[in-house]
Each structure stands twice: as C-alpha cells, then as structure tokens.
Subunit: 216 residues, 2 copies
C-alpha cells in the first residue's frame, strides 16, 4: 500500500463541500463510479455485519418523483448519481446466518468454527440487550458508509451532497423498498459542482480545533 | 485539487482492516496525526452543526483504566493513539447560537443575515420534531466522523480499529466527561499493525455486490 501525503488528504477534504448545485451535464465516468460502489461495499461495520443496502437511483422519472419529498432540492435530479442508503427491515437470526454462511464461503472455513462468533452476535445485537434498538444500530453503521463514501468521493475528485432532509416513508413508497425488505435512512447525491454554485467559494465553518479536540 | 486514481483509493480500502494487534512500539508521527485530527474537524455534519467532541487519550494510565471496560481489548493500550468520540450533553439553543456566532465570525456576515438558517435548525433538530431524538441524531453524525476518520487514516497508511464494544458510562466516568458536558458514543484506536496480527492476512468478507448495490 502506497500512502498519500497527509497534505494531499487535507486538500481533498478542504475541497469537499455540500454541493448545492450540480452540473446536470457532467456524468461520473464508469471507472470512478464502480470504485465508489466498491468503496461503499468495503465500508467497515460492527461485527462486519453490513446491515445495509445501497440503491443507486438512475431513472430520471424516479428522481423527479423523489424531489418533492426532498425539500425540492435540485441535487436530487441534477446530480450524476443518487444513492439511497437503506437498512434491512429485520436484523434477525436469518440475517446473521446469511453473514456466517458468507464468512465460511469466503474464508473456506467450516460453519462450526464460527460458533463462538455466532454466539457473540446472538447475545448482543441479534437477540441480546442491543437487539431492542438494532435498527438504530444499523442506522449508525449506515452513517459510517455515508462518511466513508463522501471522503472516498472527494479523494477521486467527485462532489457529493448528503441529504438528511428527505422523507424516508415517501422514499420507501416511491422506490418500493418495503417489498424488497429495506427502509430508507439517508441519501447522498454525487457528481460535479456547477461553476455557478456560489457555495463552493464560501469559507468552511468549523469550530476552532481547541474547542473540538482535547488531549487527555 | 488533484484527485487520486480510483484504483489507489481501493488499494487503501482493501488494505484497511479492523486491526486486532497493534505494534506498541510504533507511534504515528506528528504531521500525520495532526492531519488526522484535521480530517476529524473537516467531517461533514447535518447543518454543519458539528455535534461532537473528540478526546485523544494519550495518558497510559487512563488507557489502562479504560481497557477493562472495552472487553479487555489490547488495542486500547497498545495502539499509538486512542480517540473517544463523544456528543454534547445538550443539543440546545445555546449550542446552536455558538455555531451561528462561528458562522458570522468565519464568513464575516452579520448574525441577522442567518435568521432564516437559524429558524430552520430551530424548527427541526433544536426545538422541532427531531429534537425528541437529537442525541441519537448527534450519534449518527459522530458515525460520519468515524467513517471519515477510518478512511482518511487508511489513505495516509495508518491502521485503525473501531471499538463499539466499550462501556460508555465507564468511559464517561474515567475521563470525567459529564463535568465537561460530553458523553461517550464510540472509540477508535489508531496506529500500526503488528507483523504478528494474523487478522491482517484474512480475506475480507463482504456480501456480493449484487446483493448490496441495486440500480433503480
């Protein structure tokens, strides 16, 4: 692995901003987009359980229908790509078993060798104390994916805009997600900033480091 | 901004794994660490509100005391750096005002010009419907920071291990956080993998892309 210089990382993160106006004529090329999908897949999650499903909405018709349920923000229709981040309706034993099967398959180990790991998950987020809020736990994991996605995009020169101001129920209905077993959490538009987006030039507002980072 | 090639991004994300065994003798150099703190600060958040505070625990004594409340995981004491991600106890009007003051300061605009923005936040997460779960909202933002941090670290060649299996109440008590107005959410160790960590060589387990990403 060939690390990038720390200054290079910070250039990308300072270049990033929540893009308000995308250039509707510029599309993300296939190689970059495939890499961003792979980045989503490679997101770390608790136990590696990956409690998520990413819908990439390309249909202009669907995107027009989503827009009124997104504070009518133009990013929904103008950005090159729109990702809807969802969680599975059920974080249950079958979901866990699917994951254990996958570990056995990828690592070529017998399922029995995963009994201890299975028990840990079972006694925690699957059927233990944390299972009472497993959907919220899954939402948090989705936000790791969101953070990873925006940083990954910035590094390859792709603009993003995270969209919390959406109506998840309407998104679910328009994208027919309950029938597929998923529920909307948050969305993120990706593409290229319009040269006219005046927000790109505004100084980034962050609290002073001394108020945010403390050494103990 | 000089983007990195998509393949370079994926190399870094494939190199990353939840490090189980850190090399206790290797410390992250100052330039890299400062960049990772800056990356944390540059994390995007809803409204830009930054509902977080990052504690970098360097004291070996504090880290020894945290370890039993972290499933006794060696990363707590062996990693070069340990970051505790926290949220403010109150996401309230004074918190919002502090942010508005900061916008006015950084952008050199009068506070009055932010009245519309103020109202939006007030009617939403500060005192509107979402204020009922503003602490959970803040936790989700913290997970954006966690995702950003792990990806940023991988890109500059620093290993990490996210730590959800910690006791937040004990962390709060040991780090005296309530007196400072913060509560623990999650932690992340950072440093360099030990050459003996056998987990580094295990194939990464991810569901097949066709089961995780869907185009609509």
């Amino acid at each position: 692995m060939n690390p990038i210089p720390p200054a290079h990382l910070l250039n990308a993160l300072n270049w990033r901003y929540a893009t308000k106006q995308f250039d509707p004529d510029r599309k993300i090329d296939d190689v970059s987009w495939r890499a961003l999908e792979d980045a989503l897949i490679l997101t770390p999650s608790s136990y590696g359980l990956q409690p998520w499903h990413f819908f990439v909405v390309t249909s202009p018709e669907l995107r027009s229908r989503l827009r009124p349920h997104s504070w009518n923000q133009s990013q929904i229709t103008d950005a090159s790509h729109l990702v809807v981040f969802t969680i599975p309706e059920k974080i249950d034993v079958p979901f866990m078993e699917k994951y254990l099967d996958r570990i056995a398959e990828v690592r070529g180990v017998p399922l029995e060798s995963l009994a201890f790991y299975r028990d840990m998950m079972l006694k925690d987020v699957i059927a233990g104390p944390r299972s009472a809020w497993s959907r919220e736990w899954a939402c948090r994991q989705v936000y790791i994916a969101l953070g990873n996605f925006m940083t990954a995009a910035a590094l390859v020169g792709v603009d993003t805009c995270p969209l919390e101001g959406i109506d998840p129920m309407e998104y679910d209905a328009i994208l027919d997600l309950p029938a597929k077993g998923f529920n909307t959490v948050v969305a993120c538009a990706a593409g290229y900033r319009s040269p006219e987006d005046k927000y790109a030039a505004l100084p980034k507002v962050r609290f002073d480091k001394s108020n945010i980072v403390q050494h103990l």
